[in-house]
Subunit: 343 residues, 2 copies
C-alpha cells in the first residue's frame, strides 16, 4: 500500500482516506476546512483540526458542531503543532488570510499568515512527519490580471495585491519542500468558492458571501462597475472532492487550478441569486455602483480558470452548476440563520 516516488523510494501511505486514516486539517474551523472535515468524518477518518481562530479569517467552532474531532487552537507556525501532525497520514493545509483588501491595509499581517507561518509549518512537517501527504490550498489570486483566458497553470503569476504575493510565496515554499526534501506535496489554486459554512457577515472575504447575505436579507446586491467581470465559481463540495483527489498517490510536487468550466458575469450571478431568493418568498434587486476608493486598483477584471490539468492527471472536475450550488447554499443558510448575524 505504500506508493512509490518517481525515484522508486517508498514515499507515503497512499491508502484511500477512511477508517484508520489520520488527517490534519489546518484552518479546519473555516469555510473550506470545515466542509472538508465533515466529509472526512463521514469517510470514517480521524480528524485533527489546527485553527488559530484569527478574528475575521472566517473560522468558527460552530462549523464543526457535533463532530467528533480534535481541535487545537493554534497558529500553524507554533511549536505545539508538532503534536498534531505527529503520526498523521494526510495534512490538508488550508490555513490562511483570504481578504485581498485587508492585505493592502495590513501587508505584513498577510505575509505573516500566508507565508511566514507556512514556512514554519513546513519545517515542522519536515522534522516531525516528513513522509506525510500534504495538500495545500493556494488561490487563483496568484495570477493577478489575466493576460489570456482561460488561465492555465503556465500563465504568468503577477499578483496585483499583497495577498496574491503572500499566497504565491506560501505555495512556492510548499513546492521547494516537495523538491528539496522529496516531500509528497500538492497545491491547488482555488478560484472563487461558495457554499455552506462561509462567513457571510464580512465584506472582505469576496463577493459571493456578500451576494448571498444580501439576497437572504432581502437586501440589495450591489455590483461595482458594470457587473460585466466574469468569474468561474466553484461549489465547496466540488472543492472538497478536489482536495481528496489531490491527497492520493498522483500529483506530487504539482500545482493545479481548481475552477469551473462555466464562467458567469457578476451580473448573471447576482441575477441567479435574486431569482432563487425570490422563489424562497423573498425579493432582492441588483444595483450597479461605482468602485469604492482604491478597490479598482486591485481588481483583476474577468477571470476564467482552465482546470484541464487536474482533470487529466487526477480525474477531478467541478460537477455542480451555479444555480444548483447557490440553491443548496441558500437552503443551508436558511436552516442555519446564525451565519447571517455572526460577528
Amino acid at each position: 500500500m505504500r506508493a512509490m516516488s518517481v525515484a522508486g523510494e517508498p514515499r507515503f501511505d497512499a491508502r484511500p482516506i477512511g477508517p484508520g486514516t489520520v488527517c490534519v486539517v489546518t484552518g479546519g474551523l473555516g469555510f473550506i476546512g470545515s466542509n472538508l472535515t465533515h466529509r472526512l468524518v463521514d469517510l470514517g477518518a480521524t480528524v485533527r483540526i489546527v485553527d488559530a481562530l484569527v478574528p475575521a479569517h472566517g473560522g468558527d467552532a460552530r462549523n464543526v458542531a457535533g463532530l467528533d474531532v480534535d481541535v487545537l487552537v493554534a497558529d500553524i507556525g507554533q511549536a505545539v503543532v508538532a503534536d498534531a501532525v505527529s503520526g498523521a497520514h494526510v495534512v490538508f493545509n488550508l490555513a490562511g488570510q483570504v481578504s485581498h483588501t485587508a492585505s493592502m491595509i495590513e501587508p505584513e499581517r498577510d505575509l505573516y499568515w500566508n507565508a511566514i507561518t507556512h514556512g514554519r509549518f513546513l519545517e515542522t512537517l519536515r522534522l516531525v512527519q516528513p513522509d506525510v501527504r500534504v495538500v495545500h490550498a493556494s488561490t487563483r489570486q496568484v495570477y493577478g490580471r489575466a493576460i489570456r483566458l482561460p488561465v492555465d497553470e503556465h500563465h504568468p503569476a503577477n499578483p496585483v495585491d499583497v495577498n496574491g504575493v503572500a499566497k504565491l510565496a506560501g505555495e512556492q515554499l510548499h513546492m521547494v519542500y516537495a523538491r528539496a526534501y522529496s516531500m509528497a506535496i500538492t497545491s491547488l489554486r482555488l478560484t472563487n468558492v461558495y457554499g455552506p459554512r462561509q462567513r457571510l457577515t464580512s465584506d472582505e472575504l469576496g463577493f459571493l458571501p456578500v451576494f448571498i447575505r444580501t439576497a437572504l436579507e432581502n437586501g440589495t446586491i450591489k455590483l461595482f462597475g458594470d457587473g460585466s467581470q466574469r468569474r468561474d465559481c466553484v461549489y465547496v463540495d466540488d472543492v472538497v472532492d478536489a482536495l481528496l483527489a489531490a491527497a492520493g498517490e498522483y500529483g506530487i510536487g504539482r500545482v493545479y487550478n481548481v475552477g469551473h468550466a462555466v464562467d458567469h458575469s457578476l451580473a448573471e450571478i447576482a441575477s441567479v441569486l435574486t431569482r432563487l431568493a425570490a422563489a424562497g418568498g423573498r425579493a432582492s434587486e441588483v444595483v450597479l455602483s461605482p468602485w469604492p476608493g482604491d478597490h479598482q486598483r486591485i481588481d483583476i477584471g474577468s477571470f476564467h480558470t482552465d482546470s484541464g490539468l487536474i482533470a487529466a492527471e487526477l480525474g477531478w472536475k467541478a460537477t455542480t452548476d451555479l444555480a444548483d450550488g447557490l440553491r443548496a447554499a441558500l437552503a443551508f443558510y436558511r436552516e442555519h440563520p446564525w451565519y447571517l448575524s455572526s460577528t
Copy 2:
C-alpha cells in the same frame, strides 16, 4: 523636468543623477551597493546608505572608505529609515540576503530579509516619499530551473529554494506598490555578478567569489559535478550602468533581466581565471568534485539570461566580456588584499 506618468500626472523628478540628486542606497555597504555608491559619488550625487551590516550578508564599511556619504546602520524595515528616505529623489533598494544554501538552513530568516523588511520599507516609502524613483534588485534565482534557454521575463518563476521564493515575493511587493499606488518602481533580475568589493571569504555567496579567492590564493578551483553548467556572468560596473538606466523616466512598473549575452560553462570560467591568475605569477588548477550533501537539490543546471527587453526599452546591455572583467577584478583584489582575509 518632472516626468509624466501614463495617466498624465506628474510622477517623480526625472532629472539625470548628478549634483543635487539625493540617492538612497540600501545595502550600500555590500558588493553591488558599494560599487554603485562609488559611481554616484563620482557623478556628484548626495548618497545616503542604509545597511544593516548583517554578518555574512556581504556588507563592510571599508567598501566605501574615503567617500563622503551618510551611513545609517539599520534594517530597511526599521522606522528610523523614514529619515533617510525623506527628501530623496532616487532609492536603489539593494538590501537582502543572497545565499541560496543559507536560505534552506534558515528559511524564515531569508523570508524576513528579502520579503518582510521590503514590505515594511515600501510602506515607509509610500507614506514618507511616495514620488521617489525606486530601483529594486531582484535575481534570476526567481526563475528556478530553466525550462527553455535563454530565459526571458515571460519564463515561469518556479524557484528551487527559499531564497528564490523570498526574492520573488520582495520583487512582486514592489510591483504591487507600483501599480496600486502609482509609485515609480523598476526591478532588475540580476544574474551572477562579479567584480571588485565582493565578499570573497564566504563560500555561500555564489561560485564566483569562491573561484576568484581560490585563484588568488593559488589554490584549487573546485567544481561540483562536471563543470558543464553554464552561466552568463555580468561585471559589476555593467550592473551599475543598468541600475542607473533603470532610474530614469522609463521602465516604471517593469521587471527586467540583467545578464550577459555570452554565457560560459563553469569549467570555462574556472579556466579563464586559472590563466589570468597564472599570468599574474600564480598558478591554480581546476578540480572536478561530486556535489556535496543536498546542494544538488537546489542547483538550477544551466542558465542563460535573455536581456533583450532592457536593451530595447532602456538601452542597456552588458559591455564587459568575461576575461576583461575577471582581469579587472583580480587586479582590484591584488591591490586590496584585505578582501582575502576579511571575516
